[in-house]
């Protein structure tokens, strides 16, 4: 398998970042990558996206934090993380040694927090790109998520771009009427790429206890259940912007990867599937190599946006 992968061209570019293949792991589903060492040859992946990092460490929400739903799961982790300083001092060293491009997912409650994190990450060795999670509530604007208002999404993008020394990917929320408006706003504000989708907001109730199944009442829906929505949004956004689109949502197998790339994604991220099959990401890389070889493609790039609309 290893030799086959080298023979075919799986390379894609996200802004100035060149990836050896389009397969990334989604934030919050791959820990800080080390957790997957027993299962995955990390250096074979296009990139890993680490758990969302905030300025200060966060303890996250009380339990229960996760609940299974039909072909999906709800999570309300509450963005538990070690904070940007400990991330740099404790987690980056391992990732530098592994030699896989690291995309750092960042989040904040204010523009200043986003800017500050980007500044601290500037010039940290091994950080290949920043992914900006704009699904967080803007505490200054009464908690409306940055990602639901084009102007606010643009402001976060501009703030991060100002400080970042690496490509900036803006991760879009699907909980909006027209995701192309947000995508265009962040493109205009300088984003090098957009990734989508983050989770759909959902809820579950235990009818016996009459309580919500998540302590946080609502949570984010992920997994195969959301794939059709994600694919539709990727298709729409790919037509609306000219920066590269990274597809996320319910991807489990190489067939799913192909669907997202045909819809217009330059790269993809595997999320919830890592929990079920920790080798899902590496298997997707292997599957893509096999596909390119079998289909005798010059490069995987040939299928980006190649969906045939009759």
């Amino acid at each position: 398998m290893g030799s086959k992968i080298k023979e075919v061209d799986l390379g894609v570019s996200i802004g100035s970042l060149r990836l050896k293949n389009p397969v990334m792991t989604a934030s919050g589903t791959f820990g800080y990558a080390r957790e997957f060492e027993p299962y995955v040859n990390l250096h074979r992946l296009g990139a890993v996206v680490v758990k969302g990092i905030s300025l200060e460490p966060r303890a996250g929400n009380p339990p229960p934090r996760i609940v299974e739903t039909s072909c999906g799961m709800l999570n309300a982790i509450g963005l538990e993380n070690v904070g940007v300083n400990r991330f740099i001092s404790e987690k980056m060293e391992y990732l530098q040694v592994v030699n896989v491009p690291v995309v750092v997912n960042i989040l904040g409650d204010t523009l200043e927090e986003y800017r500050e994190i980007a500044e601290r990450l500037a010039d940290v060795k091994g950080v290949a790109a920043i992914e900006v999670n704009i699904s967080c509530p803007n505490v200054k604007k009464g908690g409306v998520a940055f990602g639901t208002v084009p102007a606010m999404a643009a402001a976060v993008t501009a703030a991060v771009k100002q400080k970042s020394t690496v490509p900036v990917i803006v991760k879009l929320s699907p909980n909006v009427t027209d995701i192309t408006l947000i995508a265009r706003a962040v493109e205009d504000a300088g984003a090098d790429s957009v990734s989508l989708i983050n989770t759909l907001i959902g809820m579950a109730i235990d009818h016996r206890t009459r309580k919500p199944r998540l302590a946080n009442v609502i949570g984010g829906l992920s997994g195969p259940a959301i794939k059709p929505v994600a694919l539709r949004m990727v298709y729409q956004v790919a037509q609306a912007v000219s920066i590269p689109v990274i597809g996320i949502g319910g991807i489990e197998t190489v067939e799913d990867v192909l669907e997202f790339m045909l819809a217009g994604a330059t790269a993809i991220q595997i999320g919830t599937a890592n929990f079920i099959n920790p080798r899902a990401s590496e298997e997707a890389v292997e599957g893509l190599a096999k596909y390119v070889a079998e289909q005798k493609l010059g490069s995987i790039r040939e299928i980006i946006g190649a969906v045939v609309i009759p």
Partner: protein, 262 residues
């Protein structure tokens, strides 16, 4: 870290009661390195529903090749597993988590309730093999004789003294394991290794605290990954914040946890 994702073959499937199943799986990789208190994550179906793996304690290991899980059918995942056939393969991830810290120099008492007895079988066998001169006492309870009797036998077969309790009095003490434990009048410095329902573990913890016994408990939480990636499996800890039951645990020193007295 040694963990494996394996297609393991079911070499045996036993029904110990109407809804209690024991499955023996063939996996040298997992069986060779597992320690008592660790668990595995099992795919229960072929489709995407149920989506997530299910956690089960490793309840026995034999010949450095086979390991067992023991479970009760409580929902869809366990119902699917109960429907498996010998010869079929299950996808298993493990061994996961950190297990019991064993002290071979003192009086050890294994305390289990319901399916919490599962990891204690492995622990009891391990202790009796490593230190045949200092066998642990076993206090286990269940709702009724049918559920408990096969497990009592398993402990007795490895030479351990068992003190059973049942809710309905059909086997051993009529009542809770905590009462049995109290009646044992264990010496100071004794250690308990506990797995079972939350209220039972809480009762044992409070008793041990009073007596100055050390107490290790195995915590069940909802888990999406079992391997440190999802951060879903938290338990509140005494010093503030949370520990993660899949990698900091599932076995914890009871004193470190923040217990919720409901």
């Amino acid at each position: 870290m040694s963990q494996f994702q394996k297609k393991t073959q079911i070499t045996r499937l036993e029904r110990l009661g109407s809804d209690i199943i024991r499955i023996t799986l063939d996996s040298p990789e997992i069986s060779k390195i597992a320690t008592p208190g660790q668990f595995v994550m099992v795919r229960t179906g072929k489709g995407k529903d149920p989506l997530l793996r299910r956690p089960f304690s490793i309840s026995q290991v034999s010949n450095g090749r086979y390991f067992q899980i023991l479970f009760k059918v409580v929902g869809r995942g366990t119902a699917l597993l109960a429907h498996c056939r010998e010869g079929e393969y299950l996808s298993v991830l493990g061994p996961l988590g950190s297990g019991f810290q064993i002290d071979y120099t003192t009086i050890n008492c294994l305390v289990g309730g319901g399916m919490g007895i599962a990891p204690l079988l492995f622990l009891g066998k391990w202790m009796s093999r490593k230190c045949p001169d200092n066998l642990p006492l076993v206090v286990i309870g269940a709702r009724t004789e049918g559920e408990l009797e096969p497990l009592v036998k398993d402990f007795q077969e490895i030479g351990l003294s068992v003190y059973p309790a049942t809710d309905d009095g059909s086997l051993g003490h009529h009542g809770f394991v905590i009462d049995v434990l109290k009646n044992l009048n264990l010496d100071a410095g004794s250690k308990t290794y506990v797995c079972g329902p939350y209220p039972m573990m809480l009762a044992v913890h409070l008793f041990c605290k009073e007596k100055g016994f050390s107490c290790q408990v195995s915590m069940e939480t909802s888990m999406a990954c079992g391997m440190g990636a999802c951060l879903g499996c938290i338990v509140p800890v005494e010093r503030g914040g949370y520990a993660h039951s899949c990698f900091d645990g599932p076995v914890f020193d009871a004193e470190e946890l923040l217990w919720e007295v409901k």
